[in-house]
Subunit: 625 residues, 2 copies
């Protein structure tokens, strides 16, 4: 059971009658939220109206940043083992030809001398543009993604309440609580649960959204319709195992994406040549297959098996509000934004909505941060939703314009498509620094390889510290021995600014501990909150292991020995990636938010590190309680 | 159930009454054998006298080659996630000091000004000496290693028969079979099972060994005794998370190895100062702890928890025979060799005994290879056992001589310790080539990164083709376009030499298919036996992806499209690692055995590739049926 929950049992099923957060919808977004809250130790109930997790179809492409997030959650392994990895994209075009028939039987006889040709084949996420440590799309069916999050959550004692259809929510008189009703669809019984927060991760037709004033979706619905099929294809088309964008003047656009278990996802444009929407009755698997076959001719296209078929009409819309003014009801994922499926963004953006919200809810629910922190959720994620919609409009347009436009659209937006380009503007949690650094507040922590001092393990700096809902404060010390006294001063500032907060947090975590699971015995997360439950302290130095002992460091860093790193692996190392040329007499510091975004970053002359006190104050006091 | 087995049910438990191979002992060696056989589709029954898998203690260090093997088996993930990785080794020494007390109580009062000092700290497996893709020891408890093999085997329908103590075996009159008896230790019932082969993986006191004539252990038992403890240590010793070799003149040698779950394994030398063996009654956890505390003073040593304690006396012995003359009864693992635990070799060598035997048993049991193939098991693995014993004697000696000797011993033997130095001399399966290559027959296939043509995935060439008990034949083509006609000729030779064998094998696998498990749907192993069940054909070229299409290749290579690789990732690529400078007008070829050893390797001028026919003939006809 969740630590803060009271429990009442209905028959065999145990449902919390009072909890901190109710999440509606156990798709990728809802599960990411509930899973994070379960880890952080905030009581959560997750309702879903389906009897089981997604079995076929739907979203299936994980972008590089999402793979990183799952690695940070220590949940990527089964997906990496079983998913298909798409490293390259291939562009094909088929020119106009005179003889064309659109009926299936006639088509068998039709021939053409017009060539179908590959106009290019290239890496999807070139290192120089993206710099991802996992530069590929991971195709793992939505049900697989849901499963890893559910299994992990269950190991922490939180279970999805199935067959539970959310119906309404209302404030509880005189208390700062919500009364949430849902229907048990198996028995039609209406159940009630009290909670502090309600989050709708219930998709484009979100019911929760209707309980947020003025939160309608705004934007366009186009005439562009697509048919989508998953299955095993028999073909002599050579690029079946690359992502393929095929534009045919006769039969519209086709997108092919390799999938796990030898399958292919096929997207087929259903708009008729004139641009009118295709009659829904015509959008059958047979019709979609015929369009694809026409487009791919002279290559063969047969289905060995079909696992799923769906159609959708492209709309690009964003909800006007992502939360109610009192910061009690929220929406995340498709409930807040919808767009085309072409660039495989949907589930990725949705999960990162939740990833942004979860740690904020945890800190506020624990009384460690001000309620105003929750408003940054809407500010930040609505910005990303609009970025996404704007990109999607351009991407769809480029798709129909041709390979040159599409290739340019890819190049211009590739960081955004990969997920690393989702960046926040300056705000409460993202404060512009005075000295210029390579990375800035609002950007994601950059990947880099470093050596862990304590056990000489080479690790990825962006993955090594486990996600405990805490901030990460990285100190960069180019030259250690000469910096020892400055380090002492720095640690004093940290203790002074964060000491009271830490004591406050320690009492909270004493009372409501983080969600424990058996794999924690192996991961040893407690190595990373020895100093505070609010932050993990880390140090990156360019000095070598033989130049110092842990016992020479300030006590706070001695306690943080599992996050003392040597920047000795890469030619362009972590220090340089973050700060550019950081002088030997300087010390750098970065506050990384619990979701991996840079909150603030700056550097100081060693003699002036006492100034970090005001700097730290200015950040944390603005939103911490 | 295993495909070849007849089953009879005894109560709730189902035991095959007739099978192809009976394995005695479900430790690392026995499980590796049974797991491999289950994959290859050879019926196997595995008996173990324990009620469950190993819960604490015993072997726990996986060497780099063993990690590679588990990656090849697609079983490494949970071990890599949960194990501790030891990258470095630290040497400490404590000089003689005058005042010393060996009793626990007195020791508390004793003080010394003599320094204990680190004489060196360095990478355990330096890249320039070992070149491993996983250059560390993976500490994962034996029970975890057993579990991944058991889980995988069970997913293929093979279960360990527990509480089953092997008692005897005898030939079945007039048939080429063995009658094997074991006792159900839960009921004391005696059960009988018929099998074609019996393999004893039943440890140093092997009962199966007694059924092989003249197979006694030969060698020395020393006076060197060690106490071993696993637990969580509280200490201010700075190198607790490195492997530590500590030599103290007063209190003997200590070895510390970090383990999973924050534990440490502590080895403490129990020989008294005079070299006599320590009285067994004295070898208690308290005594071992006291010795360690003395050696580590002035650093603190307290146990927060103790999980396991054991003692052992070092013996270095090898069985005179690993099999009976008729090639029906075998021993593997500790049943064939024993030695000290210091270099963490035991389970590693034992599992590779089985890894060597499994594919041979499968081919012979299927009638695809001559029975004489089985004799290469003894030839090859006895050689390794003697190498191990010789190394171990030197290693133990160096350990007591001091850090200079030990460091030299490490450097001299590091490839062997890592597992890559286990090499076979020329023989039936390892044929010396006429032209000089960088790697030679009897050596392991070298790691290298290449790009898979078909889907642009960067892969490890030594891991990519799944283990199906088949040979891998790699063709190296530096310059593809000019080599197309030579490639055609080469493929004709392959078809000619291996065509009949392939037809024979295909009938066998039609009848007794490989063990299928649900993860095969994701791994798609059938992509790698499109040409033959005897071998997977692979090609490595230095030409780029844009220079050729798969459809231009000979049909046999078109069918092998999942193993067409581009040598375009590393500065010193796969081709150069295997062949040195392979000229553009040359073609190289290597036969890699099912266990990853090079069987034969050579190169030809493009005009002379017809000669590969005799070359292939000379290899395969000597042992294939």
């Amino acid at each position: 059971m969740s630590p803060i929950a009271d429990a009442e049992c209905y028959g065999a099923e145990c449902v919390s009658a009072s909890t901190t957060v109710v999440v509606v919808g156990a798709g990728p977004s809802g599960l990411m939220l509930a899973n994070n809250l379960a880890r952080f130790g905030t009581s959560v109930v997750i309702l879903d109206d389906r009897p089981d997790k997604t079995s076929t179809g739907k979203a299936d492409g994980m972008q590089p940043k999402t793979i990183e997030t799952f690695k940070q959650l220590r949940l990527a392994d089964p997906l990496l083992r079983n998913g298909a990895k798409v490293f390259d994209i291939s562009f094909w075009v088929k020119l106009l030809h005179s003889k064309k028939s659109s009926s299936l039987t006639n088509f068998q006889e039709s021939t053409t001398d017009q060539p179908m040709r590959r106009t290019g084949r290239k890496l999807h996420y070139p290192d120089h543009l993206v710099g991802a440590s996992d530069p590929y799309i991971l195709l793992a069916h939505q049900g697989m993604v849901e499963e890893v999050m559910i299994d992990d959550m269950e190991s922490r004692g939180v279970f999805v309440t199935r067959n539970a259809r959310f119906t309404s929510c209302s404030p509880v008189d005189g208390m700062d609580q919500l009364q949430i009703q849902y229907e048990d669809t198996a028995t039609n019984a209406i159940r009630t649960i009290k909670a502090d927060y309600l989050v709708g991760c219930d998709g484009a037709r979100s019911k929760v959204r209707s309980f947020i004033p003025d939160a309608d979706l705004e934007g366009e619905i186009t005439n562009a319709a697509w048919g989508v099929m998953d299955g095993v294809i028999d073909t002599d088309f050579p690029d079946l195992w690359s992502k393929v964008a095929l534009r045919s003047h006769s039969a519209g656009s086709i997108l092919l994406i390799p999938r796990e278990r030898g399958m292919t996802r096929l997207y087929v444009e259903l708009s008729s040549t004139g641009g009118e929407r295709v009659d829904k009755a015509k959008a059958t698997p047979e019709y979609v297959t015929q369009r694809a076959r026409e487009a791919m001719h002279p290559f063969k296209l047969e289905w060995k098996s079909v696992e799923w078929f769906g159609t959708y009409v492209v709309g690009q819309r964003v909800a006007k509000r992502f939360m109610d003014p009192s910061a009690k009801v929220f929406i995340a994922g498709d409930a807040g934004h919808c767009h085309s499926a072409l660039a495989a963004q949907g589930a990725n953006t949705s999960m990162h909505d939740s990833f942004n919200l979860a740690w904020k809810l945890n800190l506020v629910a624990r009384g460690l941060a001000k309620s105003s922190l929750l408003h940054t959720y809407e500010e930040e994620r609505q910005k990303i939703a609009h970025d996404l919609i704007n990109f999607d409009v351009e991407h769809c347009k480029a798709f129909s314009e041709g390979e040159t436009a599409l290739a340019k659209n890819f190049d211009d937006n590739i960081r955004f498509i990969a997920g690393f380009g989702a960046e926040y503007t300056p705000g409460t949690l993202t404060r512009v620094s005075s000295s210029p650094c390579r990375i800035q507040a609002g950007m994601l922590q950059l990947p880099a390889k470093v050596t862990r001092y304590i056990d000489a393990n080479p690790v990825d700096v962006q993955l090594d510290i486990p996600l405990l809902g805490q901030f990460k404060i990285y100190i960069f010390v180019p030259e250690l021995r000469s910096s020892l006294s400055a380090l002492n001063v720095l640690c004093e500032q940290l203790a002074s600014v964060l000491g009271e907060l830490t004591a406050h947090a320690d009492r909270s975590f004493e009372k409501h501990s983080r969600g424990h699971c058996s794999s924690d015995d192996f991961q040893q997360p407690q190595r990373y909150n020895t100093v505070s439950n609010i932050f993990t302290l880390a140090m990156v130095t360019k000095s070598s292991q033989s130049e110092f002992e842990i016992s020479e460091l300030p006590e706070m860093l001695q306690k943080s020995r599992w996050s003392v790193y040597l920047d000795d692996i890469q030619a362009t190392g972590c220090t340089e990636r973050w700060f550019g040329n950081l002088e030997a007499e300087s010390i750098g510091m970065a506050i990384v938010r619990p979701d991996g975004y840079i909150g603030m970053i700056d550097s100081w002359d060693m003699a002036k590190v006492a100034a970090t006190r005001a700097w730290l104050d200015s950040y944390f006091l603005s939103f911490m309680a």
